[in-house]
């Protein structure tokens, strides 16, 4: 017997939404069952980062965030970042730099990168390591993802990239 549901209200990718949720549902489960399948379930453990979304602009693991924690807040999922006509510079750089292999980790990386660059447009290497430490990739060995990140920063930052590559 499922626990009763309750309504929450939040902003998702710029739009006001209401949603019936079970008290223990994770934000990831609510997003995925609502059709927002870009947020991936890699571990359900808060370890791999493939479920990363922005909650009030800060990157968090949707799999261990209760859906009720989003009530009254702003959620940005990968569906709210870029499109074919107008991709985010990091998304474009990933394509150009062969940063995607199986691609499963990529939405999580995009969200963490967006969360970081929105707050720190020109991060140092130390800041990058601090803000991307929770995103894992099994395929690429990270090299090409870093290439893409450096390319994106060069494009979006108004100054010389602080991070030398």
């Amino acid at each position: 017997m499922s626990p009763a549901t309750k309504q929450i209200a939040f902003t998702l990718n710029g739009e006001s939404r209401t949603c019936e949720i079970r008290p223990s549902e994770s934000l990831m489960d609510v997003l995925r069952r609502s059709g927002y399948v870009g947020t991936k379930n890699g571990c359900t453990d808060g370890a791999c980062g493939s479920c990363t979304v922005l909650l009030d602009g800060k990157s968090v693991n949707a799999c261990i965030t209760f859906a009720f924690q989003a009530h009254g807040r702003t959620v940005t999922s990968i569906e709210g970042v870029g499109d074919y006509d107008n991709p985010h510079p990091f998304q474009e750089a990933l394509v150009e730099n062969s940063g995607c292999q199986c691609g499963f980790c990529i939405p999580g990386f995009v969200m963490s990168v967006k969360g970081m660059l929105d707050q720190i447009p020109n991060p140092t290497h130390k800041q990058i390591m601090e803000n991307l430490d929770g995103n894992y990739c099994r395929c690429t060995g990270y090299e090409k993802i870093e290439d893409a990140l450096h390319s994106a920063i060069s494009r979006t930052s108004k100054e010389e990239p602080a991070w030398e590559r």
Binding site: G38, Y84, Q91, G99, C100, G103, F104, I106
Partner: protein, 135 residues
């Protein structure tokens, strides 16, 4: 010295055909493309390293509302196949059945349940009665 050939495809860098689709998080994986009303399948695993299944009773599990199908060695054809793979004709013995009368490791397959929700499938697993003779 020597003609330089210009190739249209060879020697050109091209983008991975689905790279932008993946970067945008568009539905791409089995879990993304699964219909919302898909059934949930749960497996019953063996707790024993080596045992014979002396009896299985799935009647209570089958009777649970929301359970659509319960499979075990008694109601599936014994189709012997191979899990190793070097391509046909792979010379190893074709001796694996999906559900067997014997379990050969902790975690070996005993039964499978398909149900409307994960909770119902998990409850159905608990209702399957299995007796083992430990070998």
């Amino acid at each position: 010295m020597g003609a330089v050939k210009t190739f249209k495809v060879v020697n050109h860098s091209i983008n991975k055909i689905d790279a932008m689709q993946l970067s945008l998080g568009k539905p791409s994986y089995v879990a993304d493309l699964c219909p919302a009303d898909a059934l949930v399948v749960k497996m019953l695993w063996s707790p024993h390293a080596h045992a014979r299944i002396t009896s299985i009773d799935i009647s209570e599990a089958e009777a649970l509302p929301g359970v659509r199908c319960v499979l075990y060695h008694g109601n599936v054809p014994r189709h012997l196949h191979l899990t190793a793979g070097q391509g046909y004709p792979e010379p190893s013995p074709y001796d694996t059945a999906v559900f067997d009368t014997k379990v050969r490791c902790v975690g070996d397959r005993v039964a499978a349940v398909a149900a409307d929700t994960r909770e119902i499938a998990e409850e159905a697993l608990r209702k399957i009665k299995v007796e083992f003779e430990i070998l």
